[in-house]
Symmetry: C2
Subunit: 254 residues, 2 copies
Amino acid sequence: MTKMHELPSLTLPGATIEILKARCSTCSMHQLCLPMGLDMGDMDRLDKIIGRRRRVQKGENLFRIGEPFTNLYAIRLGHFKTYQINANGEEQVTGFQMGGELLGMDAISTDKHYCSALALEDSEVCEIPFSSLERLLVDMPTLLRHFHRMMSQEITREQSVMLLLGNMQATQRFAAFLVNLASRYEVRGYSSTAFQLRMSREDIGNYLGLTIESISRLLNKFKKQGLLKVSNREIEVLDLPRLKAITAGTETCA
Amino acid sequence: MTKMHELPSLTLPGATIEILKARCSTCSMHQLCLPMGLDMGDMDRLDKIIGRRRRVQKGENLFRIGEPFTNLYAIRLGHFKTYQINANGEEQVTGFQMGGELLGMDAISTDKHYCSALALEDSEVCEIPFSSLERLLVDMPTLLRHFHRMMSQEITREQSVMLLLGNMQATQRFAAFLVNLASRYEVRGYSSTAFQLRMSREDIGNYLGLTIESISRLLNKFKKQGLLKVSNREIEVLDLPRLKAITAGTETCA
DNA sequence: CGTGAATTTGACTGACATCAACTCAGGTGG
DNA sequence: CCACCTGAGTTGATGTCAGTCAAATTCACG
């Protein structure tokens, strides 16, 4: 088992919360089970506060902005997007989350959800009642530390998105997005070179501060340059090193 | 004393961490002193872990990206900017912080600072050794809760910046920036209509994903429209409601 | 299959960046 | 006291990247 801070540093959105493989009876992969320091008794106690599993169908909201906050959610299965709504009712996608990641931490500050979360495919989460978790944290310093790390990682993830939105060109943004997805799938034991985009071009564009047309053109451009194979939402990365170079800004990309 | 979540909801960067007026012997205004629930004994214990005060001169770094993480910093006095550095060594300003705000929470996840913090004027902070704080949190559930709220608020602050960078036009971004500053000064008991910009046009532009020239033109535009009086870094807000309308996107602004 | 939604493609536009010249404030030293 | 210098800020001319608009094409799903 690797400790969180020894994991490869993934500089982009959502990559920063790893899956810890320790199994819980209710939830075989949620990331609150910090391996080191949790004896069987601890593990049992953690298991007990994990609420029911909840299925969320594709297109269904796990929670909506403004709703009262009671639970954090550990994604067991599936993909989500989180988004904010501006004054004109337009969406801004703030992240894409996948199995092993935690949702809802933004709601702690005000006891209301500050963003909405929507399932991009049929998914399953574990509800973690926050008040129970907080009581547990008091007795389990290791868990407390881990929880703080996870909150902090969400902060750094968002800082990376700020860098992306504030500072990068369209091509670079999109490359960063793909590299990020690849590394997250790799950490999870999936192929980092062949995967399916669970989100629409529109969601991607919204997330990256670009239009749907730009995303389409970028996909095509990368295809022509031999960086990707693209078939609808099916992606095959043919040249990850160059994609990383584009992300870093080392390679300007024609 | 108001509870944090009863404070006026300030939707933009840095406004979300309020000053709690409870006094500490070392640090008369840091925001860890949650009034309710802290008896004198608790307050004393909190005081004891607050490390030395540290002065930071204008232009000096409080911490740099990559440095080992040991302390959080509560700003007593002055202004800071935090920024990330991309692969090409270019800055991306991720926030401006002022008295009563907390710096360094992004470093918890990796035990290294994920951004750099630089004093925009001669400033003073309280060092809060994080390991001591964590020990204390275990014994003080109220403080624990408050700390989680602050972490969460940093997350929501950053989400607001993502909305700003991903979705708003230059004019709207700049209006949002000004409105945000105004409300933060107001919360602190300063004038919300007349204040000094502590940061350069360059920093503002960088933060908002715009160029220095754009900032200059926007200032001029707002001046011409009777929204502001501008004299170097001295700002007087003449029409806050309209500025807020522009921020919200209600008023398109000519 | 057929229908509507998602995506692609192309032509055009516009917002903001870039480049360059200029102004101004504030500090320094003769 | 003022001439000079330097860096911050302003202003104008021009360029460009990505947005907008529109039409064609493909896909998904009943």
